[in-house]
Symmetry: C2
Subunit: 213 residues, 2 copies
């Protein structure tokens, strides 16, 4: 097994996203490069490289002379991101091999039913949801599309921890996953795609209703 060797900037990027998931950063706050670099135990150079990458993904924004800061959240942007990811995931599903999806159906259905119960950590729920979607799209041959989806989703992470721990939405999310999986089991790709699109639209509205702002 080859030992993992990745550029520092990528490791830093991942670590920053983890911290973001944990809610360590408040949206809209400036980033102090020297402070963050010393906190992470790296120099400013690879840190800035990671920040630039994240800015390209929309997680951060940069202003001349003012450095980087976490892009402020807004209902408008969240809606925009949901529209985009909904369309991209739908496309990915459409491009997937029908036979593969059919075989995948039962597993997706099982996972959807085993959705973590309400007592689980918010982060755990998020992770499970992400993995389910990743598996759903695992048959898509368009690699660039999958990369792009990952990148856009990174920009959505700022919204994840804003979700209040509510119960009903969770069950509806699971129910929608079941609907998608069932359509796949039946080999009805258009229905699955439509259900997936609904899932994003509804997910957006569920979230919106809980974003006090």
């Amino acid at each position: 097994m080859p030992i993992e060797r990745r550029p520092l900037r990528e490791q830093i990027r991942d670590e920053l996203l983890r911290k973001l998931d944990r809610g360590d950063f408040a949206a809209g706050t400036d980033i102090n490069e020297v402070a963050l670099a010393s906190e992470l135990g790296v120099s400013r150079t690879p840190l800035r490289e990671a920040l630039i990458t994240l800015a390209g993904e929309g997680v951060l924004e940069s202003n001349q002379g003012r450095g980087f800061r976490f892009a402020p959240v807004s209902r408008k942007e969240f809606r925009e991101l949901c529209e985009i990811v909904g369309a991209l995931e739908s496309l990915a599903l459409q491009l997937s091999d029908a036979g593969y999806l059919r075989r995948l159906g039962p597993k997706l259905l099982r996972l959807a039913r085993d959705f973590p119960d309400q007592v689980a950590e918010q982060q755990e729920i998020e992770r499970h949801d992400d993995e389910w979607h990743d598996l759903l799209l695992s048959g898509c041959p368009n690699e660039r599309l999958l990369d792009l989806i990952t990148s856009v989703k990174a920009g959505m992470r700022r919204y994840a921890h804003l979700q209040a721990g509510d119960d009903a939405p969770l069950e509806r999310e699971a129910a929608e996953h079941c609907r998608i999986a069932e359509a796949l089991v039946e080999g009805d790709l258009p229905a699955a795609t439509a259900a997936l699109r609904d899932n994003w639209v509804n997910g957006m509205e569920r979230m919106m209703s809980r974003l006090t702002e």
Copy 2:
């Protein structure tokens, strides 16, 4: 008029894309950072920042210890990019205000008919085509989506100069633009969206047939 003050990395990025359009870089070739930096008259730091941005957009790829290089072109990737941009532009059109599009229709139609003739520079044709699409999407309220389209299209620039100067495809491109514009004039958004999608599929095939590879 305030004088333009942008980070060096962005100016460098733009300049590199310009050079790419001019065909200054062969796909698949490694980038020598010191050489390129001195050629541009900047230091390696902002250059590397620009390279990292371009890598995030898929224009370049980076390998640990081996630096950056222009991502090699392939029929597969080109098809993937067309699929993505087609879906994104369709979404952008769907989200646009119907009334605005209707008002825009005549202008789009006029521009489509005034498509530059065959003797024009390849670059000129590209620019005109880009501007036409930009105008088509100018009514889309989803700003993130427009940014994303721009970013993905940056990754397609590597393919632009591979097009041989052929005549027939150009006329078909113009004809398709007319179809889209006509649908908008009639206020038939679904037809326009479908025509736009066709435009990307056909454009892809036109290009594919000319990519010898």
